[in-house]
Symmetry: C2
Subunit: 413 residues, 2 copies
């Protein structure tokens, strides 16, 4: 039983395709979501269907695999059972926990209604409608300058999501929207990126962080470093002591592990991740694996980061490990992570790239091309790359946004 149909769950099930095992993949959504591009759904560059794929489409034709859309209510490690929200129980010989991360308001869950986040497809679609509606409301005002909060964006957290969203928003208000509004001037939009730490993209080297900071500022983003958020409410946010009136506070900061591991009584770290040994099983539970973002995997000076490569590599390792055990072959050597480096993008023409050894550092247009190439060809296990390629090329050439439609609430009867 694999809990979670993200990158890890998907790759693990695919590795087990030809093995003499029955695989069950459980996820509460019907789709796999390509997290790296989700910000493009929020900024109307891509449609929801272009960054996601039904799990069933990828795995449904695999003969030994059964896909269930259901919520896991509890894992009983004694009975070796996973219980589902519809009262069914799935017996397992091996359990793979691949449930990933969820958003974390750092003890301030009361901020959640005022600061939507960008984690699920629903989040992205809701955020898009919220952003577009703000501009529509500003245009409908007699005097748009009377309500600056409508078009003030406060992004909390300058990790990859915050940086990429800020870059995309800045281009949207500068390049795409101005020609289409009559009363409201989209270039007056304020985009504030508040970061508690002292640099943006802390997972990169300080050199790259400095370049990205300069690029964001050049694009008109107000980046505020060393600026923790003290409060978020219906009127906006208090950033490093200053109150900023904003209808659009967006939470791009913290994450924590989903509670599956904790609920199963497994050992977890401070982030809630399941602590696993070198063979990726939970100590004392040789039949329970954790992979990807939800796993705490030690490495020199800390643990492995929550990136796609870790999910893919751990998933394949665990898949092969299960095959070996079923076939009574000798155990594999301990998991070792091959770090290929990091990528992030800022707007249409700029990305940064850094290899793990720090030898290659690239910022600018070339890095952006590599970014697009990697995302398009390697990471998205979706056969429909053609549509996405056309959409990207089209919006790149025309500066148009493909999906700028507000679907809105329920229609009236």
């Amino acid at each position: 039983v694999i809990i979670g149909g993200g990158l890890g769950g998907l790759f693990c099930a695919m590795t087990l395709r030809d093995a003499e095992v029955d695989v069950v993949v459980v996820d509460r959504a019907n789709h796999y979501l390509y997290q790296a591009l989700i910000y493009q759904v929020a900024t109307a560059e891509l449609d929801a269907g272009e960054v996601s794929m039904p799990i069933r489409e990828r795995l449904g034709r695999q003969k030994n695999t059964y896909v269930v859309m259901a919520e896991v209510t509890c894992v009983d490690t004694e009975l070796k059972q996973v219980r589902l929200s519809d009262d069914r129980a799935l017996d397992y010989d091996f359990l793979v926990i691949a449930t990933g991360l969820e958003v974390n308001y750092f003890g301030h869950d009361e901020w959640q209604p005022f600061a939507p986040t960008l984690k699920t497809l629903r989040d992205a679609v809701d955020l898009r409608e919220r952003i577009l509606s703000s501009f529509e409301h500003a245009e409908a005002l007699r005097d748009p300058s009377c309500c600056p909060e409508l078009t003030t964006f406060v992004l909390v957290g300058a990790g990859p999501t915050g940086v990429e969203l800020a870059g995309a928003l800045a281009e949207m208000v500068r390049d795409t929207l101005p020609r289409e509004f009559k009363r409201f001037d989209p270039t007056t939009t304020r985009i504030i990126l508040a970061e508690a730490g002292d640099r943006v993209l802390p997972s990169f080297s300080p050199e790259i962080s400095a370049k990205v900071l300069a690029k964001l500022r050049k694009m008109g983003v107000e980046v505020r470093l060393n600026s923790p958020v003290d409060l978020i409410d219906a009127k906006g946010a208090v950033v490093a002591g200053e109150r900023i009136a904003s209808d659009n506070v967006i939470w791009t900061a913290g994450v924590r592990a989903t509670p599956t591991g904790e609920a199963a009584g497994l050992e977890i770290d401070a982030m809630g991740r399941v602590v696993v040994g070198p063979d990726l099983t939970a100590p004392g539970h040789p039949d329970i694996y954790a992979i990807g973002d939800v796993a705490h995997i030690d490495r020199e000076g800390g643990s492995l980061p929550a990136v796609a490569q870790v999910a893919v590599q751990t998933a394949k390792y665990v898949g092969h490990s299960i095959i070996d055990r079923v076939e009574s072959k000798p155990a594999q050597p301990p998991f070792s992570y091959y770090d290929k480096g990091y990528l992030a993008t800022v707007g249409r023409n700029y990305a940064v790239l850094e290899t793990a050894n720090g030898r290659v550092k690239l910022a600018g247009y070339l890095a952006k091309m590599i970014w697009a190439f990697i995302h398009l060809l390697y990471q998205m296990p979706n056969q429909d790359k053609t549509t996405m390629f056309v959409t990207w090329t089209w919006s790149y050439v025309t500066h148009r946004l493909g999906s700028r439609v507000i679907i809105g609430r329920k229609s009236r009867p």
Copy 2:
């Protein structure tokens, strides 16, 4: 002031592009919706962004045109004012009512919660999630045959929407889904198309209706003619006296005019449409026009049908008529409709086509190619035809559905 950003409102505003007038287009949605393809959103063939386009994208760059997303609360024909939901008032010299149709449960509004319809983009997206979720629930059951209501579809009304949706659903359960489900057999899905009248597609000739009926039956759709629906409730529907257990009753039957005309105190017909004279103004209100589906325009033996061509032709006529009046030119001759005929499609490879004079009648693959060509090139005033073309071609060749993702409800905090 043009109320409504559908096909009529859009074409009317575009006709006025170079005129010495100020144009305001008001719509409660931010998008134009291409109604003819909306069933493809419900059956996951197209994504929401592919059948719709922000009104602002098409008209926002037009110098004399101001686009407002707002609800019209009332039209004051004395003061010549349109009042909006945000308490603003728009003064007009000429008013164009282009608000189209809305769904009509024929006095049974209590059926509405149990029988969603297919009119707005929200409807289409909700219906898609409902259909896909039914199949997921059936697959998650220990014994899918215990709950036939999950995968019994009752479509009420065999007009173009009912027929096209039934055809698309039949292909989905027969061709696309079977390979991906393990416990539930999608081919056991029942699709019942209930029609109170004695033939499908009553706007076509009886000859074409008979061909479409045969095609639908061959595809496995249970078409029931002379079968009015007596009741719809949480458990299903009663069709011609027979109770059918169904979780998926879909209302594809009646429409009536939106109430804008009635609220303004104008003369309306039994369907609620604004009765207009040969110059498309409301009698006694030379400054108020009605166009497209919301207008009652007499012709021999009845009134003009609610089709795209009428909307486009009346919109252009009214645009030119306003230009002539502003420029004090002599009035145009009365509006006359050039009827090009009808088109409808049943599944991937079959469409029917009939010219107005009845001389050309075509059914089959060639008609489908013409159908695709016309929709792609002529009717959708969207510059992004490339993406749609690629999506269509791709899903045609692969039998895959591009947008089979359930976005779902709000994520948990």
